[in-house]
Amino acid sequence: MDHQNTVVRPNEERLSKFEEHVGEGKAVEPRDWMPEEYRSHLVRQMSQHAHSEVIGMQPEGNWITRAPSIRAKQILLAKIQDEGGHGLYLYSAAETLGISRVEMIEQLQTGKAKYSNIFNYPSLTWADIGAIGWLVDGAAIVNQVSLQRTSYGPYSRAMVRICKEESFHQRQGYEIMANMMNGTADQKEMAQDAMNRWWWPSLMMFGPHDGESPHSANAFKWKIKRHSNDELRQKFIDKTVQQAEVIGLTIPDPDLKWNEEKGHYDHGEIDWDEFYRVIRGNGPLNKQRIAHHVKAHEEGAWVREAAEAYKTKQAQKYN
């Protein structure tokens, strides 16, 4: 009996110290004691976030060779390079929790770790590149701005860095949409079609309604999360509606209406069946996205092997 107590007590003491610490709004650093659940929650969230950045390069990469001008191509390349960089900031931050890069990649490729559902949809036209930058990155920014104040130091610092870079992404997307809405009837139709296809998946990016969000309770208590899914989604809707109006795009939601009393837009119900269908691997492109990642990873293996061989050879030379 006593034995059990002596094992448990120190951890309970540490837990209450930990909760007091985060409760005061103080950051947690890699070598600080933390509850195992805090660590595993962050590993899951941060690796998922990193994977999303990396998989998110694919729908945009699809358009590099078909960008309509050299300017558009340069911008798209820079944006995709940023996404790769963001993935690396986040992998680097997640590694401070004791998980290796190899493990994270394996979890992605075997489906154990998720990435944002949105990247399982295809980018069919150039207007989709506009919609991805404006809506998908726009939604990501709302989430990431909130995460700048997350309690885990390395995650928070990575978010600050990422937020600085993301606003270029959103503006380049909005510019594409605005240009198309100033163009021919076909171009306008193409922009509206992209809007129609990306609007709802963008709203789903914030995750299930607060009542059905599986990992929320401790995430709030430990200040990993600072705002709820629904709060962030509302924020995104409220700021995006006006931007759509300015360039003449219609939001594909007949129930969307300004609610004077609340000071927010009311919106129609999200199709959660679709959300869960895609999350479970049955979206348009789930298999293709992972297959492509595996292929790139395997085709790059010789580079890593060569680098290791070179390192060994250099070490022999100078020893």
Partner: protein
């Protein structure tokens, strides 16, 4: 999956302009110092954030243990006379 090396871990420190400190920015994977510097440049300074980069093998860094922080930093706790506000200055003395 084969045992695939993801290369060594290096910590990255960036000086944003001459005259500033090098500040920790994150980490990169690389097999040698040249690759570590190039990767750090590509990952952490895509918008002119740096004039100088240091990369250090992560396993070469010694770090203090946060559990011992109270004890470790204790020697500085009772030496208030190291701060200028400790001293009583005569009334009327200026620029001191």
């Amino acid at each position: 999956m084969t045992t695939d090396s993801q290369l060594d871990l290096w910590e990255v420190f960036i000086q944003s302009r001459n005259g500033s400190h090098h500040i920790h920015a994150g980490s990169v994977h690389a097999s040698d110092r040249k690759m570590a510097l190039q990767n750090a440049r590509d990952i952490y300074t895509r918008r002119g954030e740096g004039t100088s980069i240091w990369v250090v093998p992560a396993n070469a860094i010694a770090a203090s243990n946060p559990d011992d922080a109270d004890m470790f930093f204790d020697p500085a706790d009772d030496k208030v006379y190291r701060h200028p506000t400790f001293y009583t200055m005569p009334e009327g003395a200026k620029q001191i």
